[in-house]
């Protein structure tokens, strides 16, 4: 930050940065300063200095005012993914009410996903799955599930996703009319489930593989404590 004659006679860049942070540069002056700041890291540092040091002046001067509940709802609506997590009841009911629909869509989507999963380099030769599922968030596929004849399963990510910091993804198998059964934890990378993880009674087409966000170690109650983040039904592979 060398001499900057454009700041005017005798005004240092630090002073100009202070005026900017005080809100005293308006209109063109403000726009010009912001353009200058984008080019000059030292000027940006001077601004950060004042932002940090002056903040307590406002913080200490004003009383706290409780926002209306609508304010958070607006923020929440703006940051929410396009498809909100559904409640368990809604999700399961919707799936079983639309068996025909998901079968039709599912087979195409699963064929595409399996093609991806099988050609994934480094995964080695995998036994032919007997059933597959595509775990979707809304319409976005996130993971493929390949269930083998012996009951073991491999779950592979289709992109980079991770659970929120300090939380885990818990996997559930859900059959109609039965409470969800925990079957393990989903990693952001490949996940392998052993033969015993999914009870044999739940290894059949139409059973929903679902994921919830839970505290480390999983749901303390043995049933999901959170809405489904993403899920998909098992479908038979015709072989």
């Amino acid at each position: 930050m060398s001499d900057s004659p454009e700041f005017g006679e005798g005004i240092t860049p630090e002073q100009r940065a202070g005026e900017y942070v005080l809100g005293l540069l308006r209109g063109m002056e403000r726009a010009q300063f912001e353009a200058e700041m984008a080019r000059d890291p030292a000027l940006a540092r001077a601004v950060a200095f004042w932002e940090d040091r002056l903040a307590p002046l406002a913080w200490a001067a004003v009383p706290e005012i409780m926002p209306s509940p609508a304010m958070w709802r607006m923020i929440e609506a703006s940051i929410r993914p396009a498809q909100p997590p559904l409640s368990w009841g809604d999700r399961v009911a919707a799936l079983w009410n639309n068996v025909g629909v998901w079968r039709g869509i599912g087979v195409l989507a699963i064929a595409a996903a399996l093609a991806l999963a099988i050609i994934r380099p480094g995964s080695g030769p995998a036994p032919q799955p007997s059933m597959v599922a595509l775990l979707n968030q809304g319409t976005k596929p996130l993971f493929t599930v390949s269930l083998r004849e012996n009951g073991s399963a491999q779950i592979l990510p289709l992109g980079h996703v991770a659970p929120p910091a300090g939380k885990v993804w818990q996997l559930w198998a859900v059959a109609k009319g039965v409470k969800p059964v925990p079957i393990g934890f989903l990693q952001s990378g490949p996940t392998n489930l052993s033969a015993g993880d999914i009870p044999a009674a739940l290894r059949k087409p139409g059973v929903l593989i679902a994921v919830t966000v839970e505290q480390p170690g999983g749901s303390p109650t043995g049933t999901p404590t959170m809405p489904i983040m993403f899920d998909g039904p098992l479908t038979s592979v015709q072989g």
Binding site: D52, I79, P164, A165
Partner: protein, 179 residues
Amino acid sequence: MSTTLGTAEDVRLRALLSRCAGRDSAALRSLYDLAAPKLLGIALRLLRNRPQAEDVVQEAFLQIWRNADRFDAARGSAMGWMVAILRYRALDRIEAEKRHTGTDELPDIAAELPVSVEDQSALATCLGTLPEAWQRSIKLAFVDGYSHTEIAELTKTPLGTVKSWILRGLASLKRCLEA
């Protein structure tokens, strides 16, 4: 760079910002619970209009959510970063609406700035070393969002004098804060 707010509180804010950067919306909610009432107070003081103040706080939180990964603790406190985001949004409103034209009600700033426990900051100490008129002009700009011209009208002081008070005040503050 040392932080200017109670360090423990700022450590909490920073941890929440870092979780926001990891797209944890529960962390945004916690951040909101901790900071929104204060940010709304600041916005209302600047804008004197509740619906506008709520709009600005809402915009600020969306920007905090989007830019949480750009927060750099090495450059200052989390509180300072959030207050700055809020203030620029509020200044956009003030500029867009050419507000603050009715300057007849001059708040008694000095009375509204109690030296609280949290305010035993370097800033409070350094401000206290400035002449009363300089302090007042700086507060009218930062806390109330007044322009040079408005401060000149409010304090019945020539514009050039106000500009000079603020510039000299900033130079003294800078020296004091870095001492």
